[in-house]
Symmetry: C2
């Protein structure tokens, strides 16, 4: 069988990186040996902490694969977040927890559920196929669910995520609350990043109806620490707006301890944020109380008000 | 919980009808009592034979449901084959075996596999969720897989379909080859249908790139019996082409015993069929040897040549 490349989305987060590793293991256990776990960009600090802690190698960095290659998409399905030549590739499977944003010309394996993390679905797939979840796999799955649900506190968290975390913590023999907080804090260390790196760490292009936007999210344990870079961040955002011809750029600075987000907003449609959240931007910024989830608390509300 | 409507595609075939019944049973067993099995059109002769044989009531005919209603789609995902106000409905789940042809603004449960029949996936879902497959449910599943795969002879047939049929035949206590042939033959009885009914029995709107088309398929045990109606069929096809402003109409008359299709082709782009299959249309018709599957042997080849 031809080689199958497995990867998550661009600007990979912990779910995308660990899902490519875990899906690769599942495929091998199901008899597909010629698979390779890949990533479409560099890993973030949180993922680095996790892989170091667990002593696991990163997936292979790829920028493109030959036309007609077999691929498996995890943690995304939108072509805009995927490899550039996706439309010329043979998508064998998709395992994801996002809205449906792809059309295909052929049937394929598609497994999506409205849960907090792709790994919660992979956890089910291992069980359904009677594939043993090793301590290492359990640790990867657990880390991603903690990451995507901010330790089960994000509104994206479902009962299935909670059940998976509790069962995986037992297999991994990890105190998930203690480990999870350390892991999330490691992800908030921005010290080694340039401004332009911070602005692309977890950036998603999203069009709110006609409003062409990027929403970038950084987690922190201290909003003031990030806001200290506000002038430089705004300068970087302005450059991106001009380069990408955007109508709106939202930088969500999410306090993972207190579950709020400070938002910095630039672009000609900045007032849309004021309308959507009933806030007043002062110096291009406002506090969005209780907002931690881009998927549940930004995309639908911004789309509705656009 | 609000009521959830479960239905297959318009111009329902056996898979669409039985999948709505079987999915309804699965939802109930999973604790969602407020579900109703529906159909978007009248059942065909084959389905009628099956439901009579098994003593099972038809799903409820619906034309529309209130905006914001909960729905589950089975055996389709394309809005063009679904209920008219789909974009205003809350799709809870999709279980299907076709290409991906829908975009959503929210994540949902999506389960697709490239197998011959939706029921093969439902068979897995029952097993994965440890829900007992009763004799009645097994009979419905079995009937649909036989229907979609033409008794496991269509090129759409996968190993998973074969395994499902053999295991379901045991549960249902049915000689599936004997029953299957009777069932398929019952589906070929066109005696009670008007020409316009025959032309919409299993008609799908498909655009081959820019070529706006309808491909209709009727099964038969005797191609000459159907070709005896050729003049009337052509007249009816011409009316549909004018009404729907089509570029192409293909009527596949599929011999379920010998696994060939006679095709009647009208429309300004009829030559596309000649190009795609290397045949010469005479009096608007040609024999397509070995062609029995619209999904595997018509859509990709016509699209490639369009």
């Amino acid at each position: 069988m031809d080689k199958t490349y497995i990867f998550g989305h661009k600007s990979p987060d912990t779910d995308s990186i660990t899902s490519s590793l875990v899906m690769c293991e599942l495929e091998r256990k199901l008899g597909n040996d010629n698979v390779i776990a890949c990533k479409l960009g560099n890993i973030n600090k949180e993922t680095e902490y996790i892989l170091n802690y667990l002593g696991i190698d990163e997936p292979e960095l790829i920028e493109s694969v030959e036309d007609e290659s077999n691929v498996i998409l995890v943690d995304h399905n939108s072509p805009s977040e995927s490899i550039d030549n996706l439309e010329n590739l043979n998508i064998k499977k998709i395992v994801d927890h996002h809205k449906i944003a792809i059309e295909t010309t052929y049937p394929l394996f598609y497994r999506a559920e409205a849960v907090g993390c792709t790994q919660t679905i992979l956890y089910k797939l291992f069980n359904e196929n009677n594939v043993e979840i090793t301590k290492e796999i359990a640790s990867l799955m657990l880390s991603a669910i903690i990451s995507d649900t901010l330790l089960l506190k994000s509104p994206t968290t479902t009962d299935d995520d909670v059940i998976a975390v509790k069962e995986l913590a037992e297999i991994a023999d990890i105190d998930y609350e203690e480990y999870g907080l350390e892991m999330l804090k490691a992800g908030t260390d921005l010290s080694s990043f340039s401004i332009s790196e911070i602005l692309s760490l977890d950036a998603k292009q999203i069009d709110f109806k006609e409003v062409k936007s990027i929403v970038n999210q950084v987690n922190t344990a201290s909003i003031p620490d990030v806001m200290a870079m506000k002038d430089d961040l705004e300068e970087g955002i302005q450059e991106i707006i001009e380069k990408e011809d955007l109508d709106l750029f939202m930088l969500l600075i999410t306090d993972i301890v207190n579950s709020n987000s400070q938002v910095i907003v630039l672009g000609k449609d900045a007032a849309l944020v004021e309308k959507a959240y009933g806030v007043k931007l002062e110096d291009n910024t406002a506090l969005l109380e209780g907002v931690v989830s881009r998927k549940k608390q930004v995309v639908p509300i911004m789309t509705e008000n656009a």
